[in-house]
């Protein structure tokens, strides 16, 4: 059996289909760490954590923020079922920054009725959004 030369990538969330195209490489935020997939990968099923998903077609790279869900990897296709997925272009950086500050403030000044888990999730989401939005343009050396 010859190896496939490309991957059909499909990214869906409960609300919409975000990506449905043919790509050369996918990097997934697996729950046990980042996971790179090239055509011909062994069948794999994994849960996803919170992080950035990158896919490449030729030299064009695209980034998405992903939170929770599953990825099913087959030699010639990758299906990502994400609870939350957002394109880098669609992220409002200002809003994400504000959300992060809010979540931090909530965690700092927490009282008995603060929903800690919710604040933590909000914080994580905000941080990944900020990271993704920074990843779009050329990365500046820090």
């Amino acid at each position: 059996m010859s190896l496939p030369e490309s991957i059909h990538l499909e990214i869906v969330t409960p609300e919409q289909r975000l990506v449905n195209e043919v790509v050369d490489e996918v990097v997934l935020p697996g729950s046990e760490g980042s996971l790179g997939v090239l055509p011909g990968h062994t069948p794999l099923l994994t849960t996803l954590g919170i992080g950035e998903l990158m896919y490449r077609r030729g030299t064009a790279r695209r980034f998405l923020a992903i939170a929770w869900g599953f990825a099913e990897v087959l030699p010639d296709r990758v299906s990502v079922l994400a609870e939350i997925a957002e394109r880098a272009e669609g992220i409002d950086r200002e809003r994400a920054l504000k959300a992060r500050d809010r979540a931090v403030a909530r965690l700092r000044g927490r009282t008995a009725d603060t929903d800690i888990k919710r604040a933590q999730v909000a914080l994580q989401k905000a941080i990944i959004r900020i990271q993704i939005s920074e990843g779009v343009g050329p990365k500046e050396p820090s």
Binding site: M1, E10, P14, E15, L44, T46, F70, L74
Partner: protein, 309 residues
């Protein structure tokens, strides 16, 4: 002349009503379009999730995962969720849903099962308040645009209680969105999770046909050949709640779309009837007016004749 004036007032009033129903029809049409898009957009995820679950499912899992536990014997306690719209003026839409729910309740109670009713949407809640049936929970804040978060909020406590053995099943009464004109009520059993049959894996709706998958079957190994990370059990454990929530989400989205379809149909009928009514009234009005003119002419002629003497 009193009759003509009366008729003119009625014509004006029906015209006003027609204008309102016509506007509502147009609003419903545009909302329907968007709701329909959401139903279609939710399909790939639901299909992919069902496929994944069908791949992973095996009979022995049922013993390890509480969400898969089939009730032994007859169910003792069942939660029935009724989704209705928040607003009326959509024909028999809510009535049909309520009837379906009552029928299902009677069926379950006839079999000796205790039914607790949960209401989503003002109309259903209002009805059961009227007949004096207590609701275990109710919410009216899920409007035209249900989100996965709504579904998670509704199902969260029910899943916990099902897993804890307090409930033997969770069912939802919702409106299937087959087309804008066909929105029959239906009962769906969400818990225990009934895995989608492996054979019916391709839920080949029109939405799926575009994918390259339909053209050539993918190289798909059977489930045991997968590398599973973290472990099979953990994946199944994570996928089941997602599947449950997604079922609920789909019921909400379909009902929302069905409501707009039903409203559009109802308002179109109302607009058409108003038009018919106006035609009939106008005809009567013209006849009355003409009769009066004829009578006046006859009187004038009669008067002139009398003067000639």
């Amino acid at each position: 002349m009193a009759k003509a004036r009366e008729l003119r007032r009625r014509i004006r009033s029906v015209e006003n009503t027609r204008q309102i129903t016509k506007t509502m029809e147009m609003v419903a049409t545009s909302k329907l379009k968007r709701a329909q898009d959401r139903v279609a957009a939710a399909r790939p995820y639901a299909a992919a999730l069902a496929e994944l679950l069908a791949d992973l499912y095996s009979r022995d899992l049922a013993e390890r995962f509480p969400l898969l536990r089939q009730p032994a014997g007859a169910a003792r306690r069942v939660a029935l969720l009724l989704i209705t719209s928040n607003r009326g003026l959509c024909g028999a839409f809510n009535g049909n849903l309520i009837r379906e729910a009552r029928q299902r309740m009677a069926e379950l109670e006839g079999a000796g099962t205790e039914v607790e009713l949960h209401g989503i949407g003002r109309k259903g809640i209002g009805f059961f308040r009227y007949v004096g049936r207590a609701l275990a929970s109710q919410r009216q804040d899920i409007g035209d645009r249900p989100t996965p978060a709504h579904a998670a909020e509704v199902m969260g406590p029910l899943m916990d209680r099902f897993a804890g053995g307090e409930l033997d099943a969770v069912e939802v009464v919702y409106a299937q969105f087959k087309s804008p004109l066909s929105t029959p009520p239906a009962v769906m059993r969400i818990l225990p999770v009934t895995p989608p049959a492996g054979a019916a894996r391709r839920i080949g709706g029109p939405a799926d046909r575009r994918g390259p998958r339909a053209a050539q079957p993918p190289i798909r190994p059977s489930a045991p050949n997968y590398i599973l990370r973290p472990s099979g059990d953990e994946i199944v454990g994570a996928i089941l709640p997602l599947y449950v929530r997604n079922q609920m989400f789909r019921a909400l989205v379909e009902t929302a779309a069905a409501e707009q379809g039903a409203r559009r149909t109802a308002m179109k009928n109302a607009t058409d009837s108003a038009g018919d009514m106006i035609d009939a009234l106008r005809r009567t009005f013209n006849r009355a007016r003409q009769a009066q003119i004829t009578q006046e002419i006859a009187e004038i002629v009669g008067g002139a004749e009398a003067l000639k003497g």
